[in-house]
């Protein structure tokens, strides 16, 4: 079992012929992901690597292949349109890897996907992987291992670090989800926690947050109220200089300064395990799996 993607995921890759898109398309295909289509305007009718049909539009791709998930590797100026196209064309999950999407674009994309009932992951995220079944995005497949831990993180490489530590210790994962670190993203911690709580295969959850905003505090509140499964948390940025990653005004609105201390306090109050170093996840999770 898993969350969001599994072996039945049929993927269309937007920007499949670009530098990043083609590289990761191959990686995903090698991993075993069902890559059913690619999209590059003007290359409709061609094939990627001789096997994957390319279409001019996501509409054409979905119609011809029944793709139910899209992953986006297009440059930032086109990413908002790509997310909306995927949602409009009828996939149920859109994963946007692109980094550097203007936040005001997201204020428009967010309600667009919401009113279509489509799940958006990202932007500026590494995607997700269900080890042994399907990988959508850029998380390196070989650092993962099937198993009982749900992983959710705001950061890319930090996720790899933690997953790698778990895997080396023989602790596998149901699904690893990178939700991305942008101020406005499609899926938040709570969405993932909820999914992991429902997934029978997930026995414990590793959650990696960052300073800034209040998503981690709200997630902790959710853990306290709704979760039976154990959650271990980490916050990156305990030594980061204040005020460099978020403005004062944001803090006013949320009634919070978004510091690591505040977030860790919320974790503790929710009865969550707290991983002080990335590598501490291993023992904390192991203890909770017994």
């Amino acid at each position: 079992m898993s969350v969001f993607i599994d072996k039945n995921t049929k993927l269309v890759i937007q920007g499949i012929t670009g530098r990043d898109g083609s590289f990761h398309a191959k990686q995903m295909m090698e991993y075993g992901t069902q890559v059913v289509a690619g999209v590059t305007p003007g290359k409709g009718g061609q094939k990627f690597e001789g096997t994957v049909p390319i279409f001019n539009t996501v509409f054409d791709a979905v119609k011809a292949t029944g793709a139910n998930t899209s992953v986006i590797y297009v440059p930032p100026p086109f990413a908002a349109d790509a997310m909306m196209e995927a949602a409009a064309a009828g996939v149920s999950l859109v994963v946007c890897i692109t980094e550097g999407v203007p936040v005001l674009d997201m204020t428009k994309v967010y309600p667009f996907v919401k009113e279509r009932g489509v799940r958006l992951l990202g932007p500026n995220c590494p995607g997700l992987i269900t080890p042994g079944e399907s990988k959508v995005g850029i998380i390196p497949g070989r650092i993962c291992l099937p198993g009982p831990v749900g992983v959710v993180s705001r950061s890319g490489t930090l996720t790899y670090e933690v997953v790698y530590q778990l895997t080396r210790a023989g602790i596998g994962q149901t699904t690893c989800v990178g939700i991305g670190g942008d101020p406005i993203n499609g899926t938040n911690f709570i969405d993932c926690l909820e999914a992991f709580e429902k997934d029978p295969a997930t026995k414990a959850i590793a959650m990696m947050g960052e300073i800034g905003g209040t998503d981690e505090q709200e997630a902790a509140e959710y853990v306290k109220k709704h979760m039976k499964k154990p959650v271990v948390g980490f916050i990156a940025g305990q030594t980061a200089p204040p005020g460099r990653r978020m403005g004062h005004a944001g803090a006013i609105i949320s009634g919070s300064s978004g510091t690591a201390a505040e977030k860790l306090e919320a974790f503790a109050a929710a009865g969550m395990g707290i991983s002080k170093r990335p590598m501490d996840f291993v023992e904390l999770i192991r203890a909770r799996l017994k």
Partner: protein, 379 residues
């Protein structure tokens, strides 16, 4: 990206917000000349990317052009929060009846631009929020519909009982919103929004912070960047497409990914060290980035050891290894370096490094401990 008050005001003015006349001076003589053309009392205001300019003595009222010259002389060249004042805004001094605060930011929670308005303007809005939160009205804007007149009027009436002022303020909110969207802001403020004794509305101070991700598609806005008012090493890093923040420690860090970079700094601290910087070389592989990163870090004389922590996903670790080799060949290092590499093309990377006399490990924890020890003068 921060822009100066005079630049923000120019944008606001072009969207219809009433702004007192003003011009920028870089010399006291210019300040005097500008004041002379206005023929009224003026304010001379330091243009630096720092709050608390008034308290620092960077904002002065001047009755006469001679006065403006004298005040400009004092302000130009002064330091406010480590930043040297290179420019002053000379602007007609407004008669102030009442002062209000009007701001917009992009809010993570509602995922919308949110207006914050308060009749308690002129002072720090953080202070109002902390002490009298009921004096602030928050109005989220659904960008699909823009700022509707009814919401603008609601804010207008929150600030002013008089319908004429409420309408005037509502118009200013709509202009401010248009400017906010057009310039790609993450924050825009008018503080104070003034009602003059004759009943006119005036934006006496204006501030804008631009979303860096907007700059590629908004060259006019990108051109407003004033590199002279920023930390030179951060300017250098940005021009090399690196995210860099200078700190006071001695362990120079080169990491890929903001989360891992922060976690690395945290771990340096955890083992008793002090990071010299935050540096994210980002996701895409490019040996050139590594070369630039090393150049920037080694320019900091405080740095006693360099720590690479690279987890290759999109980033190919062989590209990083090649970058290290290239950079150190051109400019041999004077401080020790600790390299941790794992992930994409790890074996190739190790081979490149070994062939060039470097050692590297694949474990983050030991690498960090080693770097901290080296920075302390250990081995």
């Amino acid at each position: 990206m921060n822009i100066h008050e005079y630049q923000a005001k120019e944008i606001l003015r072009s969207h219809g917000v009433p702004i007192p006349p003003g011009e920028v001076a870089t010399t006291p003589a210019q300040a005097e000349a500008i004041a002379t053309t206005y023929g009224t009392a003026v304010m001379v205001k330091a243009q630096v990317h720092a709050g608390g300019r008034g308290k620092a003595g960077g904002v002065k009222f001047c009755k006469t052009p001679a006065d403006a010259k004298e005040k400009a002389t004092a302000i130009l060249g002064m330091k406010i929060k480590d930043l040297t004042v290179e420019k002053v805004l000379v602007t007609v001094a407004a008669d102030i009846g009442t002062e209000a605060y009007v701001g917009i930011i992009v809010d993570r929670a509602t995922k919308k631009p949110v207006f914050m308005v308060s009749a308690a303007g002129g002072i720090d809005i953080e202070e109002v929020a902390a002490t009298t939160p009921e004096k602030i009205l928050y109005v989220p804007v659904d960008v699909r519909y823009g700022l509707p007149t009814y919401d603008a009027m609601r804010m207008g009436f929150f600030l002013y009982e008089d319908v004429k002022l409420a309408r005037g303020a509502a118009k200013i909110m709509q202009h401010l919103y248009a400017a906010f969207m057009a310039a790609g802001c993450s924050l825009a403020e008018i503080n104070p929004l003034v009602v003059t004794p004759t009943g006119d509305l005036l934006a006496v101070d204006g501030k804008m912070v631009i979303d860096d991700n907007e700059l590629d598609r908004k060259p006019d806005i990108a051109a407003l960047r004033d590199e002279s008012s920023e930390e030179p090493s951060e300017v250098d890093a940005r021009n090399a497409n690196l995210t860099f923040i200078k700190l006071d420690g001695n362990v120079g860090c080169v990491v890929n990914g903001a989360g891992l970079a922060m976690a690395t700094m945290d771990l340096v601290k955890y083992y008793g060290g002090e990071p010299a910087n935050f540096l994210d070389i980002g996701g895409s592989s490019n040996p050139e980035k590594v070369v630039n990163a090393l150049r920037i870090i080694t320019a900091d004389k405080n740095v006693k050891a360099i720590l690479f922590n690279i987890f290759g996903g999109i980033t190919r670790t062989d590209d990083v290894a090649n970058g290290i080799v290239t950079a150190t060949k051109a400019n041999p290092l004077k401080v020790p370096i600790v390299i941790r590499l794992t992930g994409t093309n790890e074996e190739l990377a190790m081979k490149i490094l070994t062939e060039n006399g470097f050692t590297a490990s694949s474990d983050m924890d030991t690498a960090v401990q080693q770097a901290v020890a080296l920075a302390k003068g250990g081995k």
